[in-house]
Amino acid sequence: MTAEYTATRTSLRTAMVMLLFALAFTALMASMYGVTRPAIEASAQAARMNLVGDVLPASAYDNALLDDTLHLGPTPEIGLPDGGVVYRARQHGRPAALVFEAGSNEGYSGRIDLIVAVLADGKASGVRVVQHKETPGLGDYIDPRKDKNRSRPWITGFNGLSYAEVGANGWRVRKDGGQFDYHTGATISARAVTNAVARVLAFEAAHRQRLYAAPSGSPL
């Protein structure tokens, strides 16, 4: 009887100690998250603006791109299960380009976040990887800063191509029968990006009218 009582007491005490540790360290992490969130979000926003500059030359539009936005609801067809934002560039009030947030879940290690600029005629202006977890030194050439080919990084291979010109069968990596290169040993990263870009271009072509016409700030 005594032994059982002691065992119960001991396990209860141990459970309490573990609970306290869990609470204390969860509180530590939660408060750290709260403290760091504004700074992290600010730098993410600044990085996004830099990226827009990378995919769309500033001379291509004359409006305040960040204020002319559309909020997409959940749009799994371009890899946005939680929705995302489309920035709309206009020149003299006429459509110039759309800058899509997009993504892919086909990466070698998890999600790849992309930003894709599509000119008003359906051609890709530029693609950049915002965030990825591909293997350093192997799959990370999808990020032009890590690409060893400095003069013509892999990701610029989409520039100037439209979905209609290349066709559904061409919008694949060569290994899958398409026309886009990849690096040996890291096909999956290239395939994920290529397929995601193709889906964004197809989406843009299918919804172009509505995307440019919808009032700013509205959901599509």
Binding site: M29, P136, K146, K148
Partner: protein, 227 residues
């Protein structure tokens, strides 16, 4: 903590119980990351920071942690410390985070952190534990640097590829020139195993040579001409 103790802990971390070559813990991140010198050293530096911090925190709390459930509590503390370091780097050292960022969460998967906590920090005072964490981390950086450097040199003929992300404007060194065809095996996982195997063999050879020298009596007169 006296100097002899300090020296012993440091020697353990750097050579005698080197995490990469002797304990062979944390092979997963070591082999995955050591494709080039910059990545390898970056992961190593992040690991030094985390191991020092985790050892410090656990040594400070060691008397509060019930022995029976110490492992889950250690895991909890390691995960929390790594998360806090990750968030702090992201918020306040963003430039550095862009380089080290993807490596910090990987440290959680490194068994060496848990191993040192269990083997050392749980039983020793705060100062010695922190030194142990840092020394183990430095030992790991040395191995990672050699491993990453060798794989990069053989695999792609360069050194310090990606250094421009750490120091803007600096250039990687193309040791074998632009025309080097590359040797993919060195970059892929088998290259990591082969290179690490060579390093372990070299270390064991050095150790056994030192042991033979200690065991052999001091030579009298001219040394015998045997190899």
């Amino acid at each position: 903590m006296d100097t002899a103790r300090l020296r012993e802990i440091t020697w353990n971390g750097l050579w005698k119980q080197n995490t990469g070559l002797v304990q062979l813990l944390g092979l997963c991140p070591i082999l995955a990351i050591s494709t080039n010198l910059v990545n390898a050293v970056s992961l190593g530096l992040a690991t030094i920071l985390v191991m020092g911090l985790v050892n410090l925190v656990i040594a400070a709390l060691r008397n509060l942690i019930p022995y029976e459930v110490r492992i889950p509590v250690f895991v909890l503390i390691i995960a929390a410390v790594v998360t806090v370091v990750d968030l702090a780097f992201n918020a306040w050292l963003h430039e550095l985070y862009l380089v080290l960022g993807i490596f910090i969460p990987l440290i959680v998967t490194n068994c060496i952190v848990l191993a040192r906590v269990e083997a050392f920090a749980a039983k020793n005072e705060i100062g010695a534990s922190t030194v142990d964490g840092i020394a183990m981390g430095v030992g790991l950086v040395c191995v990672l640097a050699v491993l990453g450097g060798m794989r990069e040199l053989v695999g792609s003929g360069t050194l310090l590829a990606g250094i421009d992300l750490v120091f803007a404007g600096s250039q990687p060194l193309a040791i074998f020139g632009e025309g080097y065809p590359g040797f993919l095996v060195a970059i892929l996982p088998p290259g990591a195993f082969i290179t690490l195997g060579c390093l372990i063999a070299a270390r064991n050879w050095l150790d056994s040579r030192a042991a033979r020298r200690r065991a052999a009596p001091a030579p009298q007169g001219p040394a015998p001409a045997t190899a």
